[in-house]
């Protein structure tokens, strides 16, 4: 145990995902020894992420404006919408360079054990979007785990009745139990090109 501000910092850092007590200590002492200008930049970046980032009106991805970069990009096909759980999944799929359509970020998966049902996710927004825009294909790219599969099941049922809409699910290659963000680009890319109609 250290005293005062150093211990406070170690505790705050230790709350971050993936940061254990040892790493928290290491980061804290690194910051303590770094240039004040570097610390100020970090402080500024932290502040801006809370003040400056909004969620895209259309797709729910993190954005700096009302509409995100992908929704503003006229070269992206608005007829093809890929549904993911989190903004980090958009990044993972963008890295594959397989997909030229747009996204819809649900904000999580249907997980009753955590109190999350359809009303807690951006599912109504998705249905409105499909009803109002010229969407012809929805690709469901929820995580290949229990909650992600159940979410896909629910979405397939809700989307079944839209005339002329093709609904696909990412193909295998993604083993059950994993998080999408951990899939390597090759596997995720293959899963994309081999998606199947559901």
């Amino acid at each position: 145990m250290y005293e005062g501000p150093v211990q406070d910092l170690i505790e705050e850092l230790g709350r971050l995902p993936g940061v254990g007590p040892k790493s928290a200590q290491r980061i804290a002492f690194h910051l303590l020894g770094s240039d004040p200008a570097d610390v100020a930049r970090l402080q500024d970046a932290l502040q801006r992420v809370k003040d400056g980032v909004v969620f895209c009106d259309v797709c729910g991805n993190v954005s700096e404006q009302e509409r995100c970069r992908i929704c503003r990009d006229a070269r992206r096909d608005p007829a093809s919408v890929c549904v993911v759980e989190e903004p980090k999944d958009v990044l993972a799929i963008e890295r594959t360079r397989e997909f030229k359509g747009r996204y819809h970020v649900l904000g999580g998966a249907l997980d009753p054990l955590s109190g999350i049902g359809p009303d807690q996710l951006r599912i109504r927004e998705l249905l409105t979007r499909i009803g109002e825009q010229e969407v012809t294909e929805v690709i469901i790219a929820t995580d290949p785990n229990t909650e992600g599969e159940a979410t896909a099941t629910y979405l397939v049922r809700m989307l079944r009745d839209f005339p002329g809409l093709t609904v696909t699910r990412l193909a295998s290659g993604l083993p059950m139990g994993g998080d999408l963000e951990f899939a390597d680009e090759l596997t995720l890319g293959r899963a994309f090109s081999g998606r199947r109609t559901v």
Partner: protein, 251 residues
């Protein structure tokens, strides 16, 4: 290294650090166990898919300082496949897991009866042959019996006079006679009372002959009775999809 094996159902998974998970299992011999599964969120994990909710697995643990660690997992029944493909089964199964987690009590206290009930209910949901709502309500009634709060169904909960009775009081302990009936008691139909009894005793022939109104009223009474006995509300119960979509659309 102190190793032990047990068979159990995965009740809950929580993220831990970068790629690990804490897995809560309800086991046959050891009761509730919380253990770490390392690296399971990486898509290349050897047994990630086997430590997901609803999995019925044979597990080898070693006793750790704070949490035990999972070293091997073999599938006994792949219940999830039959559960996640249907939203009504999925939400009902989630309510079973949460209830079991609450009723199992302290970690490593054997609760064989509860384990059997959970495995049986998940097996029935996964097979998909029965109405998920009936499976859930039968489980909840028997789980309450395990906890010692089973509602009286045939005799009066207060004076014990044999029924059939026509009132039901959650606070009063279930069916109540006209003399004992507290104000505000519900007046369920005779069919609802027989459905409650059928679910409690596993009379599926009778349960499946019941109508949709009796099923809905039974679910309401079972949920109210359970919530009344639990300190904190269940998160899953309000999210359970009670009837098939086709049926909802028709009404």
């Amino acid at each position: 290294m102190n190793l032990y094996r047990d068979t159990g159902v995965v009740l809950r998974v929580q993220k831990l650090g970068e790629a690990d998970r804490i897995i809560t299992l309800l086991t046959r011999r050891t009761g509730k166990v919380r253990a770490v599964a390392r690296g399971v969120r990486r898509t290349k994990s050897r047994f990630g898919a086997r430590v997901e909710p609803f999995c019925h697995v044979d597990v080898q643990f070693y006793t750790g300082r704070t949490l035990d660690v999972i070293t091997q997992v073999e599938t006994v029944d792949a219940f999830s496949a039959g559960i996640v493909g249907d939203y009504q089964r999925y939400t009902s199964a989630c309510a079973i897991l949460e209830t079991a987690d609450r009723l199992a009590g302290e970690e490593k206290e054997p609760v064989l009866r509860l384990y059997m009930l959970v495995a049986g209910a998940l097996r029935a949901l996964s097979a998909g042959e029965r109405d998920p709502s009936l499976v859930l309500d039968a489980f909840l009634l028997r789980a309450m019996a395990f906890a010692g709060w089973e509602p009286a169904v045939t005799e009066c909960a207060r004076c014990g006079v044999p029924g059939p009775h026509s009132s039901f009081s959650v606070a009063g302990g279930g069916a109540v006679c006209t003399g004992c009936r507290p104000p505000g008691s519900a007046r369920p139909s005779a069919e609802t009372f027989s459905l409650l009894a059928a679910l409690m005793h596993g009379d599926w022939e009778c349960a499946e002959a019941s109508g949709s109104v009796a099923r809905r009223d039974t679910s309401g009474l079972v949920a109210a009775h359970l919530q009344w006995h639990l300190e904190r509300q269940l998160r899953t119960l309000p999210l359970v999809e009670r009837r098939g979509r086709e049926e909802t659309a028709a009404t």
